[in-house]
Subunit: 328 residues, 4 copies
């Protein structure tokens, strides 16, 4: 039985807490959040105790931590937890600054604790099935990968300002998926981006629409397409052309119901946003983390996956600023 | 907080037990099963206590029962629970014999306890969404209803022998769906049936393939198609033509992944069988039962729904035997 | 080069004329129609000559006739053409009266001329592909066949009155498809029907909605569903469950374009009606007829197929009137 | 009635010849081809006459020419036909060399004859329907355009060598589609390309896999993906995200038949290659050309469309060679 302390009692924190509490091999022992009422509400729901960071990390009965607090606290918490000898599950990103993230990983390495980064999409059953068939060789060698990722609507401008920008906040998931599915590291990246949905996003020095091209050492090509707005809902698709065929994972729709009327045949929209679309993925990534702790195997994706996705995000931004492909 | 005793610790029992245990407004207090090890294993999983029928029903701390034991025990248990003043959730069917089922309902009525019958498909999110759009008038008046229901493979012959036959065991779900969606009672039924998958099914005096036509008082028509074998998996579809359009609910597939190769485009199969396909429906029917108990409203489908589906099953059998449409 | 005389210059006549004229092995020599301007307009479009029935049938240069005039003229024309030694392609039905149709076939047999009946759906590329895979054994033995056939909107009441009724006018196509796909003759039929779209159809002693069950000697079952109204367009689908899998042929849509918006994902409707849906089938049935004449092989479907579909239509009507299954 | 001379009696020539011959407002009068037997065979099929270039262009009875001969003859033929005062339909490309193409357009402009370039995909009913809905404002402003275009298998190396390379030979169609759908000119292009299917393509100084990013003045982004090999067939898809929704045109499949078996649900593959996929587009572009000649309106796409697509192809190549985005 792995005993958890969770940092962060917000929206994602509540998801992780529920998944830990439900896990037969895990126990949600403590909640830490500066927002005391939120911490108490979440703790009471799962019979956990609200504690301070210091007390929780000092408690030898706590085996592992889940870090789902605000982004700017991640790196410090990872280091503190590592120094306390706790196994760490950290929501992406480790930090918006690559050097800080790398420094953080150095501490983790030094302390020898397991670290998993919350790239939950790898655990989505649809994408995992696609990846399984890819690894089984069903389509041969990967040649062209295409990732489409669109939010239903832009986040509040206040969030945009602290988000690290579209590449570090949103496309970072697609960078991780690209690395995972390509099976090799990109050696070159080109990005183009625009502000199309709301000029305020541009005023906040960010973009809302972006496309990226990746090329790997073996010549495989990848296209990523992001938008902060798709009025039909959360659009999450992957498609891979290989030497022996193609695989695609399409959107998960609200239901299989379709209406046929004078205007056409109307199917349901995709699941509205990430909490619904990736509910199962959130559950399965915690299952994986608990499982690796139980079996003393390293969890994946790990810290270096977190840093490499960040490197791609930084390079994408540099490409937009210079209008050139960036060698990696 | 509703306190439950569950009868039956088999496959369906385990599903219901899990759903009760997970419900914030319910508590799984006791398990009763003649198979003591099964009862203990299930009880230990949910911190419940193994009890005898007599002791559980005599305990005033038990508010409600879930009856998921073998079919031939349903009616007796319903009556005993009713007499003990417990709210009752009973797996379908109440009994394979209509008169016995009716007698049972008389006792329930006399005791004034709530009774819900486990026609779980009404709670499937896809079918519920279809029904919601139907009730909202999206397709106008119902004209032609079509229900396709096919099992992946026939049950063991031992089960066939005690099942009550395809109409009472399998198509009874479709009869309930038909009544629910037609919004009025059928006035006529015609059935045709064959043994096509395994002669042993015929030797057991049952059929494995059957089609039924229903007609309602207003002239709406319904076709049901059942087979005990579909090698591509559990096939569960509904389609309604109305005066202003049509609605359909298609199969739920294993994933959205598709492979495109030299032989064509291969999509995943439907979810394998009822435990997977109706997992959510099992959960939502318990939610509904707990909810109606909490709010003191009558649960649905109720006992009369159980009997009416049985009446249709009996009439279908009579139609097969006589080669005539049966007036209801 | 087969030289054709075509009877009937109406809507279907124009289709056949165009397909004959376009065929490299055929020549459209003559058009016969009591509506002289229609005949002349069609003849001039294809460099054919308007003639009288007598003169065309007496002309030894005419090898074959296409009969696409009004239904009540079919049987007389078939007999006259047969006596003149012409190969005959006759639009369905040979006659609305089965005895008249049989008498007509006796003359054809006596004269030894080839006769093809225009059950065009057998030539639809989608249905033909389905049938090809069925014959190749892809799904093993046929167990359950389901045919859905719905018109976009009811015909004018004037047409309803002379149509012979839904079973002889509309479902006759589905009866032919059922016989073709079942691969054996039905031994029993049950039908139920209603007037749901327009009371005037009932006043004309017809129905607009009907469902039929067929059973074959080997126990295979077939369900047919007809409606005169589907607001989303012409609905033409077939589905077969076999011992080793299932085959379905879905509707052909106007285009592959889909719109994703706030209300859902909107695909195009099916092709509007039979002229669009079966344009290719009309072409391919003429190709088949010309081909069989060129190679001196018998065309199919032939006269007996026409009669057998009529027998099923008559029996369906009798079933509706008696409320019983009819043995065939 | 427009009288045509067609240059080129090869595969595409035969398509155009058939479409001219079938057109009620057009007449296929002459065929010119250095391959005399091919010319005669095609001429005899359509009752046309085989002529020399000089004689055909000198004949005032010839109103228009279709140029479907080998690429290296296009520019000379366009100029000769223009000087002879003929209306010109020229297969893409005008020439592989942009300057030569521009010189050619100058002659056409000087002679004042209509010139249409054979970007047939604009006439595909599916893409035309998508474009119609786009122009009608159904999805608002174009934000992200995605074009997928994959051949079933690479062309012979001999063809690769004279093709002008993937960008000028294959992606040129996608460049035209992008310009057409974006509704404004791209201002920047980035391309990445690889040899993944056959090293011989690399030896011939070409690539077989390429992805391109376009950006327009207003910030709309476009991704194009090309491969010379997709084992599941000819893959031709377009997808547009706009401010108010998305539109997509999916592949046209061989049939609507699907097989459900133990391995999954198998749908048919896309139509095999461009002759099948764009049969209707070839017909409709000739219809458009004849129609504009008849009504004395300018045909589209015209010569400048041909040149602009070539400019994009050249810039794509330059981008691959320099690893930089190219301003246009």
């Amino acid at each position: 039985m792995i005993s958890f302390c969770q940092f962060g009692a917000g929206r994602i924190g509540a998801i992780h807490a529920g998944n830990i509490a439900r896990h037969p091999g895990a126990r949600l022992a403590a909640i830490v959040d500066v927002d005391r009422p939120a911490a108490e509400s979440l703790a009471s729901r799962h019979a956990a105790v609200v504690r301070t960071q210091a007390s929780a990390l000092a408690d030898p009965a706590i085996d592992a931590v889940v870090i789902a607090s605000s982004t700017n606290t991640h790196a410090d918490l990872v280091e503190a937890a590592a120094r306390a000898g706790k196994a760490i599950f950290c929501e992406k990103p480790l930090d918006l600054d690559r050097r800080r993230a790398e420094a953080c990983l150095a501490v983790v390495a030094e302390c020898g604790v397991p670290l998993m980064v919350g790239f939950n999409r790898r655990f989505d059953p649809h994408f995992a099935r696609l990846e399984g068939q890819l690894r089984d060789g069903r389509i041969g060698r990967v040649e062209l990968l295409s990732i489409t990722s669109r939010d239903p609507s832009p986040p509040p401008i206040a969030y945009v300002r602290v988000s690290g920008g579209l590449f570090r906040d949103m496309m970072i998931h697609d960078f991780d998926m690209a690395r995972w599915l390509l099976g090799e590291e990109p050696v070159e990246i080109f990005a183009a981006a625009s502000v199309l949905t709301d000029p305020a996003i541009g005023d906040a020095a960010d973009v809302d629409s972006a496309v990226v091209t990746l090329r790997t050492g073996s010549g495989a090509l990848c296209q990523i397409s992001n938008s902060r707005r798709a009025v039909y809902g959360y659009d999450q698709r992957i498609e891979i052309l290989g030497s022996k065929g193609a695989l695609r994972a399409d959107n998960v729709l609200l239901s299989t119901v379709a209406f046929a009327g004078a205007e056409g045949i109307v199917s349901d929209k995709p699941l509205p946003f990430f909490l619904e679309r990736y509910a199962e993925a959130y559950r399965l990534e915690i299952d994986h983390f608990v499982d690796t702790l139980t079996r003393s195997t390293p969890p994946a994706p790990g810290g270096s996956d977190g840093v490499r996705a960040l490197v791609l995000a930084d390079a994408a931004l540099q490409s937009v600023q210079t209008g050139r492909a960036i060698a990696l």
